[in-house]
C-alpha cells in the first residue's frame, strides 16, 4: 500500500510577467501513494492548478525554477520530451475542468478515445498515416478492434448507448457526458495516476455525485491513484484519503481527510471550513475570510495568509514557515499551532 508513486519536493513554478515574476508555486512538497486518493484544496489563485500542470510538465508559459517531481523513479523536471511523452501516455493522465474546451470539436468522441489508445500503445511512434486511415497502410481489423475498445471504455465510464454515441461529436454531448468522455480518454491510457483538475465544478450536484462515484469505483477496481484538485471541501470529504490544503502557492496543512476536516490545525483550513454555509445557522450571516488572495508577484515574505489570519503575529510576516508535526501523517505549517491545538476557540 504505502509504495510511493509520486513524490513532489520543494517545487517552485514561476511565471515571468510584465508586472514581475509571479511565484505561483512556492516550495510545494507532497506524496501520492499507489492506489491513494489525494485531494488538493484552496481558493482560486492558490496555485493548485499550476501545481497539477507542473506535474505533467504542462507549466508553459511558466517554468519550474527548482524542485523535483519524481514519478515512478522518473525525474520529470529534467526528463527529455520522449520520456515526458511516455509518462503522459501511460503514467499520468489529466482531466481538466472545462470539457468543452479540452475536447476537440471536429473529431468524434470515439476517434478521440482511439487516439488516446494509440498513444498508450506506442507513445514514441505517431505517424500521420495512422490517422488518415488509408486502406493500404492501416489494417481494418485493428481499427475495428480499437473502436470496440473505445466502446468498452465508454460504457465503463457510464455513457449510455456507447455503440451509437461513439460516433457523436462533443457538441452533441451534455456537460456531464463530456466530462465522462474526458474520463474515458484519460482511462484509455490505463494511467497509474489520474490528475483531475476540478472535474465536477461546472456540473450539477446530481451529475457530480455520479462522476465522483465513478472515480471511486475505478480507484477500487484498477488500483489507480487519483490526485483531485478542487475548491469544494465537500468533494474532498466524500472522496479523498488524504488532503493537501494550499494557499498562496504553499502547502498550509496536510494530513488524513478525517483529521484535517474535523480537527484542522491551521487557521486557513479552519476559516475555509467556517465559510461553508452548513456550519452556520439559517439566516445568520456566514463566516468570511477578510481580505483577498495575495497577488504572488515577487517572492513571499513570511506566511502568505498572515494578512487575513486572526492569530497572526510579528513572527508570521518574516522568514520561512515551520513544518509542525501535529499528528501521525498530519503536518501544519503555522507558527501558532500550539495555540490552535486547544479545542476550537471562540474565534469565529
Amino acid at each position: 500500500m504505502s509504495e510511493t508513486l509520486l513524490e513532489v519536493e520543494d517545487l517552485h513554478t514561476r511565471f515571468a510577467t510584465r508586472e514581475g515574476t509571479v511565484h505561483a508555486v512556492e516550495g510545494v512538497s507532497f506524496t501520492v501513494d499507489k492506489g491513494e486518493i489525494v485531494g488538493v484544496v484552496g481558493e482560486s489563485g492558490s496555485g493548485k492548478s499550476v501545481t497539477a500542470r507542473s506535474l505533467i510538465r504542462l507549466e508553459d508559459p511558466g517554468y519550474i525554477e527548482r524542485g523535483s517531481v519524481r514519478f515512478d523513479d522518473i525525474e520529470m523536471t529534467d526528463a527529455d520530451d520522449r520520456t515526458i511523452r511516455r509518462v503522459r501516455g501511460d503514467g499520468m493522465a489529466m482531466v481538466f475542468q472545462d470539457p468543452m474546451e479540452t475536447l476537440n470539436p471536429v473529431f468524434s468522441i470515439g476517434e478521440q478515445i482511439v487516439e488516446s489508445i494509440k498513444v498508450h500503445e506506442s507513445p514514441e511512434e505517431q505517424r500521420l498515416l495512422d490517422y488518415l486511415n488509408v486502406p493500404l497502410f492501416s489494417s481494418r481489423g485493428k481499427r475495428s478492434q480499437m473502436r470496440q475498445q473505445a466502446i468498452d471504455l465508454m460504457s465503463e465510464v457510464g455513457i449510455p448507448h456507447p455503440e451509437t454515441r461513439v460516433s457523436a461529436y462533443p457538441h452533441e454531448f451534455s456537460g456531464g457526458m463530456r466530462q465522462r468522455a474526458m474520463l474515458a480518454i484519460a482511462l484509455a491510457r490505463e494511467p497509474d495516476l489520474l490528475i483531475a483538475d476540478e472535474p465536477t465544478t461546472a456540473l450539477d450536484v446530481t451529475i457530480q455525485a455520479e462522476i465522483l462515484q465513478r472515480i471511486r469505483d475505478l480507484n477500487e477496481e484498477l488500483g489507480m491513484a487519483v490526485l483531485m484538485i478542487t475548491h469544494d471541501l465537500g468533494v474532498v470529504a466524500e472522496l479523498c484519503d488524504k488532503v493537501v490544503v494550499m494557499y498562496g502557492g504553499q502547502v498550509m496543512e496536510e494530513g488524513p481527510v478525517e483529521e484535517v476536516l474535523t480537527n484542522p490545525k491551521h487557521p486557513y483550513t479552519e476559516s475555509l471550513l467556517g465559510c461553508m454555509p452548513q456550519t452556520c445557522d439559517r439566516g445568520e450571516p456566514l463566516n468570511v475570510i477578510e481580505g483577498r488572495v495575495p497577488s504572488m508577484v515577487g517572492g513571499p515574505t513570511g506566511c502568505p495568509f498572515a494578512s487575513r489570519c486572526w492569530c497572526s503575529s510579528e513572527s508570521c510576516t518574516t522568514g520561512d514557515l515551520p513544518t509542525e508535526q501535529v499528528g501521525e501523517d498530519h503536518t501544519s505549517r503555522c507558527h501558532h499551532v500550539e495555540e490552535l491545538s486547544e479545542p476550537m476557540e471562540a474565534d469565529q
Binding site: S44, D204, Q208, A209, Q213, E258, T262, Q278, C280, P285
Partner: protein
Amino acid sequence: MTRPIVEIDDVVKRFPVDDSLFAKLLGNDTYVTAVDGVSLSIEPGETLALVGESGSGKSTLANLVTGLHAPTSGTIRFEGKAVGEATTRDKETLAAIGMVFQNPRGSLDSRLTIEQIIAEPLKARGWSASEREQKVESLIERVNLSQAYLPRHPHELSGGEAQRVAIARAIALNPRLIVLDEPVSALDVSVQAKIVNLLMELQQDLNLTYLFIAHDLNVVEHIADRIAVMYLGQLMELAPTEALFTQTSHPYTETLLSAIPSVDPTKQKERVILDGDIPSPINTPNGCVFHTRCPLADEQCATQTPAAEHIGESTSWCHYAAEFTSDEKQITGAVSDD
C-alpha cells in the same frame, strides 16, 4: 393576507427548435418546452429559491418574470398587474424588478467604467448628472466597495467584486423584487460567503423580495424561506425550507439532497444516484416527467400526470407523496449501482 408581489399562473414557455421559414413551411416545427405549466406566487419580503438541475427551466422562469421572454401561454402578474415582455412594460414596472446574473463579468459591459455601469439604469430613468454621481457613490459604499473602484473597468475586478457591482446596479432604482440567477455559483466558498451575507443584509435594510436561483442546496438552505424544486419545466415540490430539508415529500428532492457532498467525513450518507441524464425537453415523458429516472415509478406514474398534493406545509407533485413522506415508500437503499 397581503397580496403576493409576483403571481405566476399556469405559465408555459416553448422555444422553436428550428425557427427558419423553411421549417415553418414544411410544418415540421418542433418545440423545446422550457417551462411547462408552472403556477406559484412570491410573497413580499420573502426569498423564494428555485432549484433543479441544468435544463430544468429555472432560468427561463426567471427571465419570464423579468420580461426577457414573453410567456407562450399563462399570465404573470406583478403587484396585481399583468405584465408582458420587457419592451411592453412601463418604466415603473421595469424599475421595480432588478436582476443579477450568474457570470458577473459577462453581464457587465467591458467598455464602460464601473461608474457608468451603475449609473446606466439611473440615466434611463432620467436622473441628472449630479444626482447620478451622488447615488452611484452611495451605492458603491452600500455593496462594501471603495470609491476607488468607480473609474475602473470590469476586467480589473475579481469575480466577487464584479458581482458586487452587478448587485449595486440591480438595486440602483430601489427595486422591490430582485431576481438572482445563480449569483454565487461561479465563486469560491470564501467569496461566496461574503456575497451571501451582503444579499441578506440588503434584503433586511431595503425590504427586498428575492427570487433566488441556485443549484447549490447548501446556500439555498441558508438564505431561502421557501424552495420550489423544478424538473423538466415543471414543479416537483414547493415547500418551506425547513420542511423540505427535514422531511421531503418528493423523490426527486430526496435525490438532490442526497447528492450534496457533506464536509464531515464521519457523516457520509448513503446516496441516491439517478440513472442517466435529464430527458430531452423536446419530447418530455408522459405522465410524471420524472418517472423515467424515479426509483419509485410504476405504471400509474408513466401514464397519469400527478396532481398537487398538500402534505403539511409542503405541496408535492407526486402520486406517492403521502406514502413517501410517511416513509412507507423509501428510495434509500433501492439504488441501482449502474
